[in-house]
Subunit: 485 residues, 4 copies
């Protein structure tokens, strides 16, 4: 077979920046060094060669009210590759009472056309002995080390504190990592009802019904439960200072807590919901909703200082037609926005170009950190010999104005419409296959493979050692009860 | 009728310290000034004359597993008066499904022998239309403006977030104040089960099962719910930095949140649970449990800086015999400790004498602040003409060593046993009646009356104005959906 | 002599709201009660009767570059009374090397036309044995218990940490309270020079040269020095979250720290400096400068929660002509804005009417709290028999649009120009003299008297007890050095 | 020449743990892979192969009152190697008025016997045009990118805020990093004098004279100055929560601030100063002093969460005889303790073995992070082909009890005396030379070389971009002054 060689680029990883060429063989990095020759050459002159992005949070072809989120593993992974992302992690969502194994099969069936690698988080949507037992199978046999918990979506996906504690304890035993969608579902449901009763039925009421306090509270609660159960915890879509504060407060006590801002929350704000155009506002409906600008500063600082670890998209795209289900009742607007194609260019433009982040931090928060958290580093998220050749050749001089008309996603709009970005892939490679070349999509349906993720990361093991060391000790007493006053 | 005159003392209130005599007529302060004459004179030379203490948190004759807490309104109010406290606020606890009006009648029946004035908080132990409706009656007709919510005691008193939000909203409408016992009951129950399963069945496991994090989380949650519902909130028995931090964080955003440390948590620590004597440890079992010394500093600072408002006792006394119900299973140890007689002397000794608090702050946190919060100021908690003559003539030179043998409480031990206090009542007066004189108890059974408390404090009204001003506003749109990208 | 009776009003104090009439005799409150009769009656129907405002921070007739701040004790106290303020505390500023006693005489000479009562803070502008010694005289003989320290104005008023520590220690000994203008003068001076060098010579550069971080740092430093010296500390013109955060952080450790926001910082923001009109911007030049809106929320919350204690003005008015001294060099724009007449109406309108503050809190932060801090309560800041009849009869239905044309201040503009306020004095009384009646000024030149303030407040004494209790203890060793490894 | 091969070990870096052998040639890592053969083999079976430690903070042969700190570059680097540390960074300290270039020459002269690599920080001990100019030479020609500033040691090394701001600005221009010893020197000097005056002359008074508040204040101030000057800042020997809090607060705003706890502060506490043996206490005298245990938790959590970056020693060893200079006056006790040999074993034992840190974090905080901060990564702090073969083969089963008798350091005691550590070097290699083998020291005098460090790290460049983007902008005005009110 022939090699591919990436020539004349500057390699940028989470901790290094240096000039070198890369030889790829069999989809894997075979050699890194100067002046490599032989095989197909990809010219990276003037470019940064970085690990392809990993998006740890997508919902492709997710069932919703008799239909599905509009991007499936075909269009979704194409969008990912177009934007320099080479792996997505989706969520398998069992129905109440459904076996997790069944659910996983259902979800796995959707992936046949995936153009890049993928993995799954498993959701805990109900609790019982079967769930308790299947968690072990999921971790040991199915290559999944993360379990998602929804504190919102009452009556649907939501679990209560009792179930969370049970599940988190099980995660601690298995060396798995709980993920949490942190919003207080009880309060959201009540506020939704109140707003509707008052005639507040538009998309802005979606934001009113789940303010930052509601997210901050749930984040704080999830962290406490994880601390008591003795496991790390990962908060998805951290959108606001309140939630970030809870994460920081835990981390400053040494707790192993991770936070994941979305590119949407970093760059868009809640003024979108006040747009006079219902469609415009409804297209931005997601949970948590966009926040005021002050929250953006908090999130950016978190990425720079390390209190937040990764930038995701929660890509869950619905067409305008689907969004219109919620006319007259904002609660029926399907929750979700797109972003898979835009995450890297937006983050580069508003993060690296402004000096908020270094290039190395860009790599850390788009791939390396999550690869470590998900225990797939350095197979993914690294530029090392032996690592998968999931790479993006990043051209900092290549720009565009984001527009729905030019996107890979199946939907008819883009929440970043009109944003000018500078910094785009010259090439995106998925396990060595050139999926994108100067804007041309050359991805292959079905090229993507499931990425298996083992449990027991180093932090989880360390935490478990510490928890054992500091566990409650019984006071030994003789003759109980003993003496007097 | 004859006057009583308190002569030659120094009056100390929450904001004044000055020399003056006080004339009392018909149980009410009739005159304050120099050289008052006529009537029975009480010599206050060398003493501070202060408003009698108000203990906002007692459980007298509370039903428990077929028996009752050991101090009833007789011994309880005697203990109160002996220690300079002239009013107690107890809790009416409806059974699940029981009418609040019925419960109130049951509780009211216990008070016939009360020697000092009293009032009731009403507990929300279940939710439904009947509760919603009766809350108005309780507030408008029954003179009760506070509703207690238990976030712990799962399967018994505990309410969930949904119920709390409903009740808090109702409080907002009625101008009532929700009180919260803040511990995460789900997590406590699970941790209790785990500890028992591991053989940790002693009193120390009680503390292990409800660490500060569990209280801090619930406090944080209660505050968020109150903020969303638009009412102030009062956290009972704030025992630790975690809970205090949540309170401070809310207050620094302008939220109307109150915290109540107990004299026990201010002066006793969790080393008590490690006593080799099971009885010793079990007698200290209460919820939240005693904490490590670092938490005490936090609470004292909160009193001095105003982030915590009042010192209570949660007086709920059980005899050693009752405590022994829990041999072999700490979950069955009745929760509660005494303190009614010791609150003021202990706080004076460890607060005022050390310089942590001024005398004025002592008055503020033992009576005035809670009188304002409960909307009974200046009838109670003040030394003003027209105010009830609930007074303590405090002798800073009078000391003793606390011991169970000499106490009014019906139980056979005292958690402060052996503490040396300096500062005791020379006289305690309840509406002018001299109930204590130099250690001699002269209280009258049945002298105590119910104190009616109207709703709508100034902070509650201000908050409601602010919430209205900043309420969600509907975006007016024409032709939905409209246009666009 | 004849009485004055305020009839039919609602008395509002820092902790009470009730209907009663007030009889005034000899400038003092003689009686409070229903249906008082006899003497001149002032109709307070529909009004709130409150303690007159105390402005703890003014600079009347302050020397500046060969001229003086435009309002003297005549126009300044008239402005005060017009706005419901009945006492001002000004600053005596010794020149370097000048005796404090001389300085006090100079300042005292300015007060002959004062229409309301006043007092002085003494500034520590240099250090030496003479200053050390005179501080005692100032406190014991001159009725001044506060010493001001400037951490900014390098080369002029500024003192360094060494001098501050020395002075604070002396304050601790004398029971006096240090006040601090907290901005890092070294850094300000350097940034000013840098901005000028870059051509940034306009009024906006004034704000650029002293950002919130510079104030927060100095506040934090002053607090630490006070803590080490063992005295309370009062931070003047707390303008931003950074400074407020330092205050909160100290208070939550139990430190006795006070913060004073100005009405300007509560209601005006830094966008004023970007006005295209140089005059407009220059007229708003003061130190600290106005801040962004986010800081206002912090300050309002501090007033509601008690982490900030009083609202002042730092009234230091310069005419447009005076301001123009700084054309071409913002460093020469005289620092200062007016506000004496506007403080109460602005605070009522944006504080009480919005629900951010209760009426009682309004009284607390405009008079009562500072009266306690300055140890002149209840002579001032109270409505009690025996207190000075410094009163404002506040008409919540009386409104106006603030405009320079109608003000008492001698200057030709008003920084609140155009603000609509609702809530104004119907009457202002200074020691019983009706100085304002429905907008008509009836004040008497020379009516004002110096208010003597004794040292040793209760918090200062308590702190000193605590510091003694926790003072360093020597380790007793025999045979030094003793033994081996 | 021949290769050295490290066989059968597990490589542990800051982000990877994997089995591989390492081939070393010419002092550099030549190959990493399985089953390497040829050359001298070092058996790493059962061991972790990690980058050798870098100690960024030592004072070898530092002049002190006519004598020198007891460990020079000979014994000091031997101690380092014995404990697995393969590089030290020392401080060149110019006398007041002395050229930095002269000082550097003096310091460089001491290094001829160094057994491992070293570098220098340059101290700013005075300010002037010469210093300003020489800073550029130091950075561009001398391979030094860090400048140390002392906020304490008044009258000796201390610089004031003005000088710090000037120097920090210069650092910003040059892309250099300021380091700060953060204690308020003015306050320390005053408190020292006060303690002496009160007869507190023992070593415990050293601790009394510089409490955590004094360090926290200075840290906060240094950070503000760096923020204003536009450069990152590195706080040396962060010993307490107060200082750590200031660092966290800055980082949560996105500031580029680094903190360096010492192994002493992580594991020893201030009870040492209360030892009845004067020698015992005096030997522990260093600045900042040891703190109470609560501070240790803060520091450990900072290492785990990333708010603190590296563990150093501030190794500055004085013999008992030298320490006794301070009998009768604690101010004369030479400040400093040892730790070079003990840093890694102590951190492993109390950090990794307890589960507070992962092994990867251990590597990060002992070498990799500081290598990045000092801009010498991956030459140092990495296990990569091309990196210097500064390696430690760590045997987790090898233990000892620390005792002065067995140490390399020249002094006659050890502050860790009696501590049992588990985890020691089997081999330490400095650029391939086996300097330690199973406890036997085989180091070579003079083997060590100066490590040149270029300026302009990625964070410094990013910060500078951000500061430029957000720099003050002049408001353009025409016709100044313009219009009216
Ligand atoms: Zn979600
Ligand atoms: Zn999602
Ligand atoms: Zn309770
Ligand atoms: Zn209770
Ligand atoms: Zn000032
Ligand atoms: Zn001023
Ligand atoms: Zn140092
Ligand atoms: Zn040092």
């Amino acid at each position: 077979m022939t090699s591919t060689i990436i020539k004349n680029g500057t390699i940028v990883t989470a901790d290094l920046t240096y000039k070198a060429d890369i030889r790829i063989e069999d989809g894997v990095i075979a050699e890194i060094g100067p002046n490599l020759k032989g095989g197909t050459e990809l010219d990276a002159t003037g470019c940064y060669v970085m690990p392809g992005g990993i998006d740890p949070h997508t919902h492709l072809e997710m069932p919703f009210m008799g239909t599905y989120s509009a991007d499936d593993f075909d269009s979704g992974t194409r969008a990912a590759l177009a934007g320099g992302t080479t792996m997505v992690v989706d969520f398998a969502l069992p129905n109440p009472g459904q076996s997790m194994l069944d659910a996983l099969t259902m979800w796995d069936n959707k992936t046949s056309r995936a153009a890049c690698d993928y993995s799954f988080h498993m959701a805990i949507t109900w609790w019982g002995e079967q769930v308790f037992n299947e968690m072990e199978t999921i971790v040991r046999d199915k290559g999944i080390n993360t379990f998602k918990h929804f504190m919102a979506y009452k009556g649907a996906l939501m679990v209560d504190d009792d179930e969370m504690f049970s599940s988190f304890q099980r995660c601690a035993e298995l060396g798995a990592l709980p993920l949490v969608h942190a919003e207080n579902g009880d309060v959201v449901a009540q506020m939704q009802a109140k707003l509707m009763a008052e005639g507040n039925d538009g998309p802005e009421a979606h934001a009113y019904s789940r303010p930052p306090e509601v997210e901050g509270e749930a984040t704080n609660r999830a962290i406490m439960i994880a601390d008591m159960a003795g496991c790390p915890v990962y908060i998805v879509h951290t959108s606001c200072e309140q939630s970030h504060e809870a994460i920081r407060r835990a981390r400053q006590k040494g707790m192993r807590v991770y936070g994941e801002p979305l590119i949407q929350h970093l760059t868009l704000d809640d003024s979108e919901y006040f747009n006079k155009d219902w469609d415009h506002a409804a297209r931005r409906v997601m949970s948590p909703p966009f926040r005021s600008k002050a929250h953006q500063d908090s999130l950016w600082a978190g990425l720079a200082s390390g209190s937040l670890q990764c930038v995701a998209t929660d890509h869950c795209a619905f067409t305008t037609a689907q969004k219109r289900t919620g006319i007259g009742d904002f609660r029926k607007i399907p929750n979700g926005t797109g972003g898979l194609e835009d995450r890297l260019p937006m983050l580069w433009t508003f993060g690296v170009s402004t000096g908020r982040l270094t290039m190395n931090e860009f790599v850390a928060v788009t791939s390396t950190n999550i690869a470590k958290i998900l225990n797939i580093y350095p197979k993914k998220g690294a530029i090392l010999v032996g690592a998968d050749a999931d790479l993006v050749v990043w051209d900092p001089k290549r720009g565009k104005t984001i527009t729905a008309g030019a996107q890979q996603s199946a939907i008819d709009y883009n929440v970043f419409e009109g944003k000018e970005v500078m910094g785009l892939p010259r090439f995106t490679l998925t396990r060595g296959q050139v999926a994108v070349e100067e804007g041309a999509i050359k991805s292959q349906e079905g090229h993507g493979r499931f990425v298996s993720r083992p449990p027991l990361t180093a932090p989880a093991k360390a935490l478990s050692t510490w928890k054992e060391l500091t566990a409650p000790r019984k006071v030994e007493r003789t003759g109980i009860p003993a003496s007097g006053v």
